[in-house]
């Protein structure tokens, strides 16, 4: 057979294309379920860990079913929207929409004595996207509280992660020393106005209700975290105030 001829070359390339395409399609279809499950497991681990529950790959499903008692989608007026699975919402796409058209996912987590709302957040760091989950704990209403009572104003836990922040600097936002200070901070001021948690350069007092220490050398990423909390949580403020479940 003449390997130089046109028809041979043509037939040869067709065969190669068909064989390769079939192989790849088979491999991709066979491995897709495992890949999707990885993504799902990671997301569930993140949701749980923002509620201070550590889950391994093995027990994540069990813990998730046990603690995450409800999940739903709301709009910026705080009304529930039916028919949208909060787990499937792509936050990046939602944030491009005007505030009053966003679909906002909420995950409810029931611990022994308290109820948490887990809210996903997404924003921009220095190099690329940063994201995370923030959980807010429901305050107990006391008789002295007036009409300005806000049930969800205190942060219970927060975790953050990033795609490619500078190692050793901005990348440290996924470390506990940065995340733990967010606990017990408050996102509404005394008169009930929403404000973000400020990430400040050195020396945020422990007593401060809305400031945490930034990362020295990772200022832009730290500011990114602050902006992310601001843009993502602000749409929920009506819901945080009104939810009287």
């Amino acid at each position: 057979m003449n390997v130089q001829s046109n028809s041979y070359t043509f037939v040869y390339s067709s065969i190669i294309v068909v064989v390769v395409a079939t192989l790849l399609a088979l491999a991709a279809t066979a491995l897709k379920p495992a890949q999707d499950r990885n993504v799902e497991i990671e997301k569930k681990q993140n949701i749980l860990s923002s509620a201070r529950i550590t889950a391994s790959r093995e027990n994540v499903q069990k813990l998730y079913d046990q603690y995450i008692t409800d999940s739903y989608t709301i709009n910026s007026k705080g009304e529930k929207i039916e028919g949208i699975d909060p787990f499937e919402i792509n936050l990046r796409e939602e944030l491009k929409k005007p505030q009053d058209q966003r679909n906002l996912p909420v995950f409810e987590c029931t611990l022994d004595d308290s109820l948490l709302l887990v809210i996903p957040v997404y924003g921009k760091g220095l190099w690329g996207p940063i994201w995370g989950y923030v959980s807010l704990v429901r305050d107990k209403k006391t008789p002295s509280d007036s009409a300005s009572f806000i049930p969800y104003k205190k942060i219970y836990g927060a975790i953050f992660d990033h795609k490619g922040e500078t190692p050793g600097l901005g990348a440290e936002i996924n470390q506990a020393f940065f995340q733990i200070p967010f606990r017990n901070k408050v996102i509404f001021d005394g008169s009930g106005r929403f404000h973000s948690i400020k990430v400040v350069k050195g020396g945020a007092g422990l007593s401060s209700l809305n400031e945490v220490d930034g990362i020295s050398g990772g200022t832009i990423t730290s500011k990114g975290v602050q902006a992310m909390l601001d843009t993502c949580l602000v749409s929920y403020q009506t819901y945080f105030k009104s939810s009287n479940k």
Binding site: V20, L24, A25, A27, A28, L126, W127, G128, T166, T219, I220
Partner: protein
């Protein structure tokens, strides 16, 4: 507009293909012996990346991404062909390089003489495929952004190779320890240049 300029500067100075991601190192080290050939290869790389990134962007948006086939009708909306992206990107790059080579040969023999020998090298230059993959990963929103990104990435690569070539010409007669000559000192020089370029990190425009 400002945004595009920002993108360009970022990709030339901060997210430089060579200094931050080490892409295209093979030809970078092999060709940077003389300034003149480096300039030639640099221009060829700028050209190829600026053309291939937007083409691959179109491919990504209308063919490969999950749900990208929706324009064919709702029946196609569920296809996810992203597993084919490596194959298609590299095929597009190889085809475009070939095409550019033929066009240049036909219309500008002098340019062909200057760039021609570099073009086949470029098809397997990691910086070109790398730019396509970064474009996919960073999900640039518009074709303008993708084009500017491609131009910036190519320009940054060209800048890096020209700088290194100029330094290598200067140190040709320096007294470098024998085992370090050639490849070794080039690596260390690139490392030092990369440290210098890190000074641009965090600039806001």
């Amino acid at each position: 507009m400002e945004n595009l300029f920002d993108l360009f500067v970022r990709n030339v100075f901060i997210e430089n293909m060579i200094f931050a991601y080490f892409l295209g190192m093979c030809s970078y080290l092999a060709v940077s012996k003389t300034l003149k050939t480096s300039v030639g290869l640099g221009i060829a790389v700028i050209f190829v990346i600026t053309v291939t990134v937007p083409v691959n962007w179109l491919l990504e948006k209308y063919l490969l991404k999950a749900g990208a086939l929706a324009w064919l009708g709702p029946a196609f909306a569920n296809f996810d062909l992203s597993f084919l992206s490596f194959l298609l990107f590299i095929a597009v790059i190889a085809a475009i390089v070939q095409l550019i080579e033929m066009v240049i040969e036909k219309f500008s023999p002098s340019l062909y003489n200057a760039l021609g020998i570099f073009l086949p090298l470029i098809a397997v230059n990691c910086a070109v495929l790398g730019a396509a993959l970064f474009m996919q990963e960073r999900e640039y929103g518009t074709i303008a952004e993708a084009t500017v990104y491609g131009f910036g990435a190519g320009f940054g690569w060209a800048l890096a190779i020209v700088v290194l070539a100029a330094i290598r010409e200067k140190i040709r007669y320096s007294n470098i320890p024998a085992p370090l000559r050639g490849l070794g000192i080039s690596f260390i020089l690139t490392g030092l240049l990369a440290i210098a370029f890190m000074g641009f990190m965090g600039i806001k425009i």
